[in-house]
Amino acid sequence: MTVVDPSESSPGTRAAARKERVAGWRVGVLASPAAPVYGALIGIIVLAWIVVTIDGGEFLTTGNIVNMLQRSVALGIVSLGQTVVILLGSLDLSVAALISLSSLVTAQQMDGQPGNVIPAILIVLAMGAGVGLANGLIITKLRVNAFIATLGMALILGGIIENGWSGPQGGVTDAFSQDLGYTRFGVIPMSFILFAVVAVVIWFILRSTRFGYRVYAVGGSEDVSKLSGLRTHRTIIGAHIVCSLTAVITGIFLASRLKAGTPTVGLDGGYDLESIAAVVLGGTALTGGRGGVIGTIGGVFILAVLDNVFNQLEFNSFVRDVVRGIVIIAAVAIYARRQEKKA
């Protein structure tokens, strides 16, 4: 038997060495396949700018930019959490109901007392962790598919909301509402800073912590991860807790914005499906394992820009839906083509 030096044996070898250098760069600089997302975002901004200008409006005004930043916060925060579970190969359809519930509980716990603000936030965060834990346990221990598990959780939370609240729940303190909901530093709204902070934290978690590595691993293949000795259940539960926490933060933010909690703010906001759309628009694969929060932020901005253009052009809600649907499908189709070419 001849021993072969593998370094000279195949064409693939040389190619691999070259690819490795590229890979190093890619891993280092652009950890996620986010580049096309931002390409699309820039394209849409340019298009929007042209269309709005032709229509006789102004697009890149301060007011408009503030409006877009502000409008991206709620969807943005929850989409960050959704990114984590989708990367994991799961998804969460209960976020909308949880957003409503946390806005209500926030308002209820604050009860108009400034001293209650911090305890209220802690209570609501604990509640979010509990819901995430429940989702995770249902998925891992009861082995219910995430789609059904979180759909069921959405029903459960919906029932709790209906049973517990008959309408908006007041009680958010003036100061809290002002601080988080309305303060602005120049063009940057305070809430946008919250979004940015959450984004950085989750980006860091995914990129640099064990938990983040494991999320990608489990998303790549749960079986392989498990057989490799990874405690997959813990990772799945952890990711669902993170996702629920972002939903809860969104709920707290919306409570500050509305100065009240409402039973409908989550579902009417469509945060369940829209957050998934934003994540996929951001180039994260629904099958898990590929993508990241940077792309998601791009996806959220795309939706925010669209929203803003719709307002400027006074589209009615039906035209908006049609355009949104087309943009979502078209963008993802373009990513898919790129992916195919690369492969």
Binding site: I148, A149, A277, A285, V322, I328, I329
Partner: protein, 336 residues
């Protein structure tokens, strides 16, 4: 080849296979039938009239649209995709029918034909985008949901217009009258059984086997000669056409409404999963999926009779769905 050493001991004649296949299918998906039976019995205890032919047929009649949708959802799910657009497609059917028929009975049949074509075209678009253009079907059909909802109301100016004719409505509302004992056999129940039987035959036929193999392992199916894209597109077309049928029945049953289809896509998928269909493809039986839909409808009835406060109804429903799916998963695991 030596035939003395036949290891294939369990292989009987092909005729026996049929029976075996049926039994093994029943065993692996049995949970849903047990659950369905329990619910029927329980409902009958709460309300004895339920077991009488009239009321029971009324229950079947009201379940028919969801059962048909579940069959459609099954084809798509088992091939490894999602169809979230069926709910809005149902709405489109009713709104388009009302606007085009405007109460004229003579327009009914052409319009029904048109509706089926619309269903097929939408299904084809879903399938084409999801396969040839490689957009994940979750996103394709989510986008389609938005497009359909927007487009139909854009066309009608926000609210349904026109009216459905009586003969259009009779499909979902009436049936064959004067049958002894059961009085009326609703068309929708007949249609439901016909579609059920056709679906079973389809899944047993080459198409069905190729479809489920595609959902199980696309690469293997392709390398065996299966035209996986075509098979999947067909599944979407079936889903679209069945959504059209469900829309026709629902329009007939309930009349014109802007939101007949709301949330039906989730109900249909839930029904399938209750019936043991595995999201991601490759596993599950169409009969069980349809039984899942009957179970879901029975569950709604049960919740009603149980007098659970309207507010907590959703909560109970969520718990039961999770519980049932969890139990089925446990049984499957235990049985492995």
């Amino acid at each position: 080849m030596s035939t003395e050493n036949v290891a294939a001991s369990g292989f009987g004649a092909d005729e026996q296979d049929r029976g075996r296949r049926f039994l093994s299918a029943l065993a692996s998906t049995g949970t849903i039938f047990i659950l369905l039976l329990i619910l029927w019995v329980w409902i009958t205890i709460l309300n004895p009239t339920f077991a009488e032919p009239g009321p029971f047929l009324a229950y079947l009649k009201r379940s028919a649209p969801l059962v048909i949708l579940a069959a459609g959802a099954y084809f798509v799910l088992v091939s490894g995709n999602f169809d979230l657009s069926v709910g809005s497609l149902v709405t489109v059917m009713v709104v388009v029918a009302a606007r085009l028929i405007e109460g004229e009975p003579s327009r009914t049949w052409p319009v029904i034909l048109l509706l089926l074509v619309i269903g097929a075209v939408v299904g084809f678009a879903n399938g084409f985008i999801s396969t040839i253009l490689r957009v994940p079907s979750f996103i394709t059909t989510l986008g389609m949901l938005l497009i359909l909802n927007g487009a139909v109301f854009w066309w009608t100016g926000g609210a349904p217009r026109g009216a459905l004719s009586d003969n259009f409505r009779s499909i979902g509302r009436q049936g064959i009258e004067g049958i002894p004992w059961i009085e009326q056999l609703p068309w929708s129940v007949l249609l439901m059984f016909a579609i059920g039987a056709a679906s079973v035959l389809l899944m047993r036929a080459d198409f069905g086997r190729q479809l489920i193999a595609t959902g199980d392992n696309e690469r293997a199916a392709r390398l065996s000669g299966v035209r996986v894209d075509r098979v999947r597109i067909l599944a979407f077309v079936l889903s679209g056409v069945l959504a059209a049928v469900a829309g026709i029945l629902l329009g007939g049953f309930g009349g014109v409404s802007a939101q007949v289809g709301k949330g039906l896509e989730f109900d249909a998928i839930t029904a399938c999963v209750l019936g043991g269909v595995v999201l991601g493809g490759g596993r599950g039986s169409v009969v069980a999926a349809m039984a899942g839909a009957l179970t879901l409808e029975a569950l709604f009835t049960w919740l009603n009779l149980q007098g659970i406060s309207g507010a907590l109804e959703d909560t109970v429903q969520g718990v039961i769905i999770i519980g049932a799916v969890g139990f089925a998963a446990y049984r499957l695991r235990g049985a492995r």
